[in-house]
């Protein structure tokens, strides 16, 4: 069930795993920045960052033999979906929680949806 990483792939695994998180944060950062500053032109950059995350997850999955097992393949898909959806979901929560107390500024932000 568990296939250890090959010695030659150690660095690839470490590097791609770190890249998953860093691209994830970059995606979230640009996504939120684009929305809060009402600059839709930045949004494609956010998805470029997500593409970086996507590639990093695939590199990690191949190097760590995750596609050799159905369950681990499912975890890979879940990571891809989770990181894609999380900034959207949190953004909606931000709008919802701030709208109750700060009607005027949040109205402006909500209109971007």
């Amino acid at each position: 069930m568990l296939e250890p990483v090959k010695l030659a792939n150690f660095f690839i695994v470490f590097f791609s795993a770190a890249a998953v998180i860093l691209f994830g944060a970059t995606y979230a950062l640009i996504f939120a920045w684009s929305r809060i500053k009402a600059r839709p032109g930045l949004m494609p950059l956010a998805y470029v960052a997500y593409m970086g995350l996507f590639i990093s997850v695939l590199v990690l999955a191949f190097a760590a033999h995750l596609f050799h097992n159905e369950l681990w393949s499912f975890i890979v898909l879940l990571m891809l979906a989770g990181y894609l959806i999380a900034p959207h979901a949190i953004w909606h929560l931000c709008i919802g929680t701030h709208a109750e107390t700060e009607a005027a500024p949040s109205l402006n932000i909500s209109q971007q949806h």
Binding site: F10, L78, A89
Partner: protein
């Protein structure tokens, strides 16, 4: 810190006066952590250093235990600081709280003295009760274990009874529930079974769930209060987000415990559970990035306390890199097989503990000191501001140097000791003697000196900050 002067014009409540005592001990123990860490680091480079006088095993134990206890003192002090303010009534059972402080402090002193004076000896039942339990990170003898639980229960009584009598805010509610877990989960580390796998199974409840779950929630509560006080963020928003973040942390974090069960003899399904939740654990951190940007856009980052805000920001970054990036790099079992227990783990541990917890306690120290010094100005152009700025720089520069150095040594260990030599006894020594490992340890020591210099500057700043300020603190809206 407690001995330094403060303006009598500002009335501190009973909890806040007690908190200053906890903070004073916390900083002293932080210094002890640095000292024993430095000595242990020198022993990596010169194994004969202090051999037979202060052995590496003792230094390492004191280094780690000092960290756990100073953070605990910092957290307890922080909670006493906010308690009356949040509940709106005086602390219930304050005399008990004062007594418990002295009992707890005395117990820590006795435990440390025993560790130093009885470094070797037979492992008997009396050793467990009086000297050390010998279980990594929670080496305190059984009497001290019981004492810790009694202290935490008394602390819980103070907090729960005060909120029950006064105003039960949402921060208070989360805090009280968290303290139930804080006292309860520690019990899992207090009994033995003859089966080492079962023993480790329960031990990890303390190490992972106590530290990574209950402490995280506690820090969330402190962060919520800190944001209200330093930036004037509305209480309703902060409290709603406290619930969301606690749910996200628990959703991925509780069963993230599984990544510690990979190699202790537990059933195979823990590979999948641990891998699954470990992959999800960084998602809350990524989600927090969105919330932070949203908040920064809404509130114009006008702070009443710049040092505290700087440390709160450091907490966000430190938590993200230490727990998120450094954790996920080696958390999947396919690679963790090689890295578990190497300097790689130490690298992750150093950055995560400093980033997630030490930063938050230091932020709270500055919040407390602002009031202690007479609610003075701590915004821009603060008199003597270079000290806190250089302290935060040196502490971070030192920590990053240590973390990168240990990363290199850990990488070498995972390759040579684990992958090439197959975790043999000879492989262990081959890896320890390799020049990459030694160079990493050398640089780690340099990082340690820089970090220690940062600590000295921090302590000096805490003793003096605001003393020469005559301006009043900036008023932030809040509540």
């Amino acid at each position: 810190m407690a001995a330094s002067g403060h303006s009598p014009a500002i009335t501190m409540n009973g909890g806040q006066k007690l908190a200053m005592k906890y903070f004073t001990v916390a900083i002293a123990l932080f210094g002890a952590q640095c000292l024993f860490g430095m000595l242990a680091g020198i022993q990596y480079l010169h194994p004969d250093f202090l051999f037979g006088i202060l052995d590496f095993s003792i230094n390492r134990m004191l280094h780690i235990n000092a960290m756990i206890v100073w953070l605990l003192f910092g957290f307890i002090g922080s909670v006493y600081w906010l308690l009356e303010d949040e509940a709106g009534v005086p602390i219930v059972g304050l005399p008990l709280a004062k007594l418990i402080f002295w009992v707890f402090t005395l117990a820590v002193v006795v435990v440390v003295l025993v560790f130093l004076l009885v470094q070797i000896g037979p492992g008997k039942q009396s050793t467990i009760w009086l000297i050390t339990e010998g279980r990594e990170y929670i080496e305190a003898p059984r009497w001290a274990d019981i004492g810790i639980v009694v202290c935490v229960l008394a602390f819980f009584y103070n907090v729960a009874a005060t909120f029950a009598r006064g105003r039960f805010t949402h921060i208070g509610g989360v805090l009280v529930m968290d303290l139930v877990a804080l006292a309860g989960i520690y019990l899992a580390g207090m009994f033995y079974t003859p089966n080492i796998s079962m023993d480790q199974h329960w031990w990890w409840w303390v190490i992972h769930l106590w530290v990574e779950a209950t402490w995280e929630v506690l820090v969330g509560c402190l962060m919520a209060y800190g944001l209200i006080k330093t930036m004037g963020v509305r209480r309703q928003i902060v409290e709603t987000w406290l619930y969301i973040e606690v749910a996200l942390m628990f959703g991925s974090g509780i069963l993230g415990l599984g990544h510690h069960y990979f190699w202790i003899g537990t059933p195979e399904y823990w590979f999948t559970i641990g891998g699954f939740f470990s992959a999800l654990e960084p998602i809350p951190l990524v989600a927090m990035v969105v919330h932070a940007v949203f908040d920064a856009g809404h509130h114009k980052l006008k702070s009443a306390n710049n040092p505290a805000l700087a440390w709160i920001i450091a907490q966000a970054f430190g938590n993200f890199f230490g727990a998120g990036v450094w954790g996920f790099m080696h958390t999947l079992p396919q690679i963790n097989l090689y890295t578990h227990g190497t300097q790689w783990t130490a690298s992750h541990g150093h950055l995560a503990f400093f980033g997630a917890y030490a930063t938050m306690v230091i932020a709270f120290l500055y919040i407390a000191l602002q009031k202690w010094r007479g609610n003075v100005w701590m915004g821009g152009n603060l008199v003597g501001a270079w000290k806190w700025k250089w302290a935060i720089f040196l502490l971070h520069a030192g920590m990053i140097t240590m973390v990168m150095a240990m990363l290199i040594s850990g990488y070498e260990q995972s390759q040579i000791e684990r992958a090439i030599e197959g975790s043999t006894w000879m492989g262990y020594f081959a890896a320890q003697g390799h020049r990459w490992f030694l160079q990493g340890m050398y640089w780690r020591q340099i990082g340690g000196w820089v970090f220690s210099a940062g600590f000295v500057l921090l302590a000096w700043d805490l003793l003096t900050i605001g003393k020469r300020e005559t301006r009043s603190a900036l008023q932030v809206p809040g509540e």
